[in-house]
Subunit: 158 residues, 2 copies
Amino acid sequence: MATRAAPAPTSTPAELSATDALAQLSFLIHGTLERRAAEHKLSMIQTRLLGVLRDRTPSVNELAKLLLLDKSSVSGLVDRAERRGLVTRVRSTEDRRAVLVSLTDAGRSLVASVSGQFEADVAAILEGLPRSDRQALSRLVGRVLVAHASDHGVDLFG
Amino acid sequence: MATRAAPAPTSTPAELSATDALAQLSFLIHGTLERRAAEHKLSMIQTRLLGVLRDRTPSVNELAKLLLLDKSSVSGLVDRAERRGLVTRVRSTEDRRAVLVSLTDAGRSLVASVSGQFEADVAAILEGLPRSDRQALSRLVGRVLVAHASDHGVDLFG
DNA sequence: TATTGTTATACTCTATAACTATA
DNA sequence: TATAGTTATAGAGTATAACAATA
């Protein structure tokens, strides 16, 4: 956990390894989204569900693969989101076993709020750096992501 | 959520804003720890509990503040960790209402494993960069952390 | 009276197994 | 038979409220 950054996020030592620094920043940013979502009574998994649905109308089965959950877990997740009026279920006409899940207007509006606030939060965290440093950071992190993706057979720019 | 990095982590576009890049990397790193912990049948919160206990023997009340949980939640958390032999409870002699929680040898060993593997994972992710770039990244992220901490009244280097 | 910790209760989240209805 | 989805069940994790023991 990069010394104590993850399980026990603590103070920032004068000297940080790149590993420690990245771990600490990651938990800071993750926690930021968690808090924003909680303000809207959303858990992280409900937030991810809404996020996934922004540009898709997947079946329960496809959702299970996207969210790395069992289909029964997705069933319950969608139940609770549906009860709150955030998503709807529609029986597929092509395969009448399948159920397609999509955002309601309320769901779309909610995920847009959380999303916007989170982006602003991250931007605010980065405001500690002058613009040229932000660009340098962006370039370096972009390279890490590209390298990691290619190591894992992910198709970038697809 | 930095476009779709958080709720719907997807591909890496050719051009990433610093915000998007940081968000994507953060969720990559957080997910890395989550997977490592899960291999040891540890949830994130159990992992954080063990992490906090590495250099402390706090009361249940203090744990609740450190983990940002209600004391009743901590009570259950410690119950389950104790049942697995990872932590022990000792009644405080100074204040006989208080219960002090500490790691067992098994708990300490387990958290060391997860910690070590996670650090190696993050280091591996960073290996996509040449050493000079890693140093630059570390310096930039360190500055972000310092700036954020000072904005929030956190005492660094304490 | 105030504080520490536990317990009772209720809800979310998760998986496994069994079931229904399609294919 | 195989697949899609739901339901029953069990357990972790969380909070609120009520309680016992100690301060």
